[in-house]
Symmetry: C2
Subunit: 431 residues, 2 copies
Amino acid sequence: MVQSAIQEIKAAFTGLKCKECGETYEPAAIHVCEYCFGPLEVSYDFSRLAGKITRQDIQAGPHSIWRYRSFLPVETDQPIDVGTGMTPLLKANRLARQLGLKHLYIKNDAVNMPTLSFKDRVVSVALTRAQELGFTTVSCASTGNLANSTAAIAARAGLDCCVFIPADLEAGKVLGTLIYAPTLMAVEGNYDQVNRLCSEVANTHGWGFVNINLRPYYSEGSKTLGYEVAEQLGWDLPDHIVAPLASGSLFTKIYKGFREFVQVGLVEDRAVRFSGAQAEGCSPIAQAYREGRDFISPVKPNTVAKSIAIGNPADGVYALDIARKTGGTIESVSDEEIVAGMKLLAETEGIFTETAGGTTVAVLKKLVETGQINPEEKTVVYITGNGLKTQEAVQPYVGEPLTIEAKLESFERAWDRAQTLDRLEWQPVMV
Amino acid sequence: MVQSAIQEIKAAFTGLKCKECGETYEPAAIHVCEYCFGPLEVSYDFSRLAGKITRQDIQAGPHSIWRYRSFLPVETDQPIDVGTGMTPLLKANRLARQLGLKHLYIKNDAVNMPTLSFKDRVVSVALTRAQELGFTTVSCASTGNLANSTAAIAARAGLDCCVFIPADLEAGKVLGTLIYAPTLMAVEGNYDQVNRLCSEVANTHGWGFVNINLRPYYSEGSKTLGYEVAEQLGWDLPDHIVAPLASGSLFTKIYKGFREFVQVGLVEDRAVRFSGAQAEGCSPIAQAYREGRDFISPVKPNTVAKSIAIGNPADGVYALDIARKTGGTIESVSDEEIVAGMKLLAETEGIFTETAGGTTVAVLKKLVETGQINPEEKTVVYITGNGLKTQEAVQPYVGEPLTIEAKLESFERAWDRAQTLDRLEWQPVMV
């Protein structure tokens, strides 16, 4: 391992503070302000880093989120590092051409490590912090990707693990959790009900719930999706980003990541427009945006995009605020558009994303078509999970192989036939 | 992108030569010697690199297989680079402890990019070379992973693609190909029959078959699994490697990668033992090894490990030779052991591998138990694909979630029950 200069610099992490009233707290496993019931977030002293941490320091670090350790809420210099982060930022020329954009990039967390979603970032931070705080059992409420990631990284770290999911999740996400042998609780209800149950369990069992009592630390892991894009653009910010909205946390943390890099002098300031993507079947933030509200009315989710189906989003109002103040927007798309988005991304860029990624691509398309993205803008679209986990969503829409005998004549007949078959837009008809 | 010093150095690639009689050829899309019918392989002039290419040159290159471009059979300095390669080499302390080893490492291509198997390496090289040779349609005969990778990277590169698979492949591998909208031919027969058909098609259509007429270039991509391990061990070779055997090509190319790094002075020479892993249901190379034969008797595959089910392995004799001359071995394991191997790896290291990886872990376990690996040896086990693609293989053996109501009492009852349930070795019983 490369010995990094960054490790000589004290981390900026100082404690917790209330996002609403500013009350400060010691960095324990707490997440709600005792005074105003606002959410707690991590506080930093970035003067410790400003002018002291260089691009070269970061580049000399590991090829993972831990190259940004000074910006993350952990104390150890031995974090749980399984290669999470530093996923490719790909110039997407074929998708850009199809949509009519000039400078499109894909941040591809469909191949994040170890469990193929952006959740590996937040879990790596949360479980590193859980170990520092002395937890031996970790837990979470999850729509699937978080369950996969928590179970996998807990297994690697030797932590006991109990995971809660809605009972109707995709098969790949259930198996992709069970394989690591956690205790897996399938709750009859939607994610919001699972989450409420977990808040109660967090009070009765002394566990580290990554997205409840460890949430202040956990959510900071998503900032690395901002840092990495800035670094991979050559230490520059984009003009416009499009990201999915579930709880809204990811969106707000990408924003925070960009702002922190500006604050410590690693990138120059630049206006970045933030646009959010939701599925029509669960679009409480998009609805509030459309109706000009500054509060979220919870909804009951009903969409193929289960991983982002949060009807009562914890950080919804903060996401709303960022979209508005940056000149972005929040849009929603139908399940049909989501599937078409998955196929479009695969056929143009060779990336198989899950339904959340299909939502983001479909919203990107809609924003271009409605003139809400300028073709000249340097636009980054965040793909947050892998399509192998939500196979049932797209299975009916990809056609079937042509079945042939192991003979040249059989192949030639099928090949001739394949040439005459219609190809629907984004869909080969092979039946 | 970092401008690399390596790009100033002429590549070592010179042409093709017959592996058997040594006859030389221009670097065209050919793979069989006209004189002796031996396989063609790429020839190099490593004197162009020896003493001229440094570890720093390589480290200054991209974080992908293309940092080793000087060692690969392409001419362009703009290869197809979607972040393939440089997958983590993880110190596997928990698995090592379980098995009784001291220095175990996992080379984790279950998270290779873009399609989660080592095949992304060979396809990146093959399609880069295919473009140099002027092909506009690419093809392959595949047991699944190669189909995924060829279809995905062809989509990204804007190449037409026609892929051939056995008709009985796992659902995830079929969908994981169709999503990229290639022409997909499902052949009624096993891989060896698919491969024979493709040899005929290669003669009648002017396509670039990555593992037939482009095979000399394609197979060289696997050398990067040798280079990367050497680099990630701190420019050193391991004592022992364990890798799966299908055609035998991967195994021989890891060997070649190590030897080339010794030859150009990037690592010191050291004896490395090479051990190969097969599934009992398709173990022609293991059988030849056991029986002391220097030829392979083809078999008809019948195993859950479909991705390595090649009954007539093209490079079987070369793999056999390497295992023997390095003091390694070739072992096979049952389908039950393969599934147990998948679970063991997930539960100890948080890595969900497909059946091929289960085979490799199960063979590793067997080699330790039979004293064929010394606990002191620095051992690297190659995990070559992702478990989300072969879900049906392990689904019946991971148990089920505990289904509960969204109420604290319901959870507490289930939790108490979970504490009293037996856990079989490697298997939680949650029913």
